[in-house]
């Protein structure tokens, strides 16, 4: 019953969020602020994690594929497809759910408990739309860019770690990266990233918007938003993979 209550309340909130904005100019300004705060500020962590993960995947593949019958360019291919299909879309989204999601839940939750949201409503502003719409748009716009950046830096990580370990040459690695490339994988994962971007912004925003209580509850909601968003990302990953890879 509780699940249906939350689902209904979430849908009603989204209906309010996607209303016609009161002042396009102010929303536009807000969107740019959110793109910087939620997207640009995440570039550093995305690059660091992707470089390391690209390197680690390459080393793992090197040790597991050390067989004379296995061509070494498969290491580059394996790294590329792992990054495109799961790491740069799903795992990166899980990481963003932690970083961006908790930020959104805490910010909106704090505004709720300090009556800032009430004060917007009193002014006649659609607070749901004003606060949540720019965040959703920002994350949805920025997620595919971070996805591409993550693939690129992950491949660079592999390029550094693979030849350094001595298991694969630079030429073999690069050959593997370009071998049997399936563009559909990028399209599929890009679409997944868009869907996950929507979840990363909307679920924590929903939880923060309806928080009731004080600082303790805001803290709880922040944690809850990470857990809920992560589970939803994995669930939708399963569903989307089943649908698009049938």
């Amino acid at each position: 019953m509780k699940f249906f209550f939350h689902l209904g309340q979430y849908i009603l909130l989204m209906k309010r969020v996607f209303c016609r904005p009161e002042r396009h100019k102010i929303y536009w300004r807000q969107l740019l602020v959110e793109i910087e705060k939620l997207g640009i500020d995440s570039i550093g962590i995305v690059v660091i994690i992707s470089v390391f993960m690209g390197g680690i995947i390459t080393l793992q593949l090197t040790y597991n594929l050390s067989n004379p019958f296995m061509p070494s360019y498969l290491i580059g291919l394996g790294n590329r497809d792992t990054l495109i299909l799961e790491f740069s879309s799903t795992i990166l989204s899980l990481m963003l759910a932690g970083k961006v999601g908790s930020n959104i839940a805490t910010e909106i939750g704090s505004m709720r408990i300090t009556e800032q949201i009430d004060s917007m409503e009193i002014m006649g502003i659609n607070s749901a739309s004003f606060l949540i719409l720019p965040k959703i748009l920002a994350v949805v716009i920025v997620s595919p860019m971070l996805f591409v950046l993550s693939i690129a830096t992950g491949l660079i990580g592999g390029l550094i770690a693979g030849p350094m370990s001595g298991a694969v040459t630079t030429a073999d690695y690069l050959n593997g990266v370009t071998y049997a490339f399936v563009p559909y994988y990028v399209t599929f994962s890009g679409l997944k990233t868009l869907a996950f971007g929507f979840l990363i912004a909307s679920v924590p925003a929903y939880l923060g918007y309806y928080v009731d209580g004080g600082a303790l509850e805001v803290g709880k909601v922040s944690t809850q938003s990470v857990v809920t968003t992560s589970i939803l990302i994995l669930f939708f990953d399963l569903v989307l993979t089943q649908i698009f890879f049938k």
Partner: protein
């Protein structure tokens, strides 16, 4: 003028406000007093429309707000200014941006006009040199004054204040009280203040509504409160020996004035 008739509000079956009727007149500082948990904030939030009521009517200049169209309701909201207990300033905006925010959202004024209006309102509440500071960088009293400036920036017809003196020292409290009272008279607006500050009651209470356990117990002005025989009200307002002594002195003063 705001009139409420038979207002009832409950939470999960627990009645909070029981059949409250009263009038808040224009140009007067109307106070709602009562103990903590008596339903003051629920009453104020119901009047401004933040909470839906179960029964009764809330009339703004004779028009029942529960029957207003969305468009009219939105336009009414722009006639309302509210000062929340903690100020409710937007943390991510500076003092100037906070006061300017309603102008950006609802007016088509030029940049220069907006800057002038913000300056006028900040001067009105005596805030100087803090335009670029964030709410976290200013004191509680300043935050309340900035909140008042933001509340009056659109020239509201109705001003609501939820415990504007809470957490402030006596001197700042008096300043805030006088400021709200002055604004009410200058702009000729309907002001409703939630308070349990007895200085406010004695200084600016043009019309006082006392509620206890969600019920209306007494209504009158700051002079009438001195002569009331309502025990509950006396226990609340003149709880300390100092206030009881002050009442005796004030009564004497009024007597002398009359004679």
């Amino acid at each position: 003028m705001i009139e409420i008739k038979g207002l009832c509000k409950s939470f999960e079956g627990r009645p909070i406000l029981k059949d409250i009727s009263t009038k808040f007149e224009k140009g007067k500082t109307n106070l709602i007093i009562g103990q903590s948990g008596s339903g003051k904030t629920v009453l104020l939030k119901s009047i401004v429309g933040l909470l839906d009521i179960d029964e009764g009517e809330i009339l703004y200049n004779g028009e029942d707000v529960s029957h207003l169209s969305d468009k009219k309701r939105k336009s009414l909201r722009q006639d309302i200014g509210m000062v929340f207990q903690g100020g409710a300033l937007f943390d991510s905006l500076t003092v100037e941006e906070n006061v300017r925010f309603p102008l950006d959202m609802f007016t088509k004024k030029t940049d220069k006009e907006k800057v002038d209006r913000v300056k006028f309102c900040l001067d009105r509440v005596d805030i100087k040199g803090a335009n670029d500071l964030y709410p976290a960088e200013i004191s509680g009293g300043m935050r309340k004054r900035v909140a008042i400036a933001r509340a009056i920036v659109l020239n509201p017809k109705y001003l609501f204040c939820d415990e504007p003196n809470s957490g402030l020292d006596p001197m700042t409290s008096i300043l805030i009280d006088n400021l709200i009272n002055q604004i009410t008279q200058d702009l000729d607006i309907t002001t409703i203040i939630n308070t349990h500050d007895m200085n406010s009651v004695m200084e600016i209470g043009d019309n006082i509504l006392f509620i206890s356990h969600g019920e209306k117990w007494w209504e009158g002005n700051k002079n009438e409160i001195l002569y009331t025989s309502n025990e509950k009200l006396n226990d609340f307002v003149f709880a300390s020996p100092l206030y009881r002594e002050m009442r005796t002195l004030k009564k004497q003063e009024l007597k002398d004035e009359q004679s």
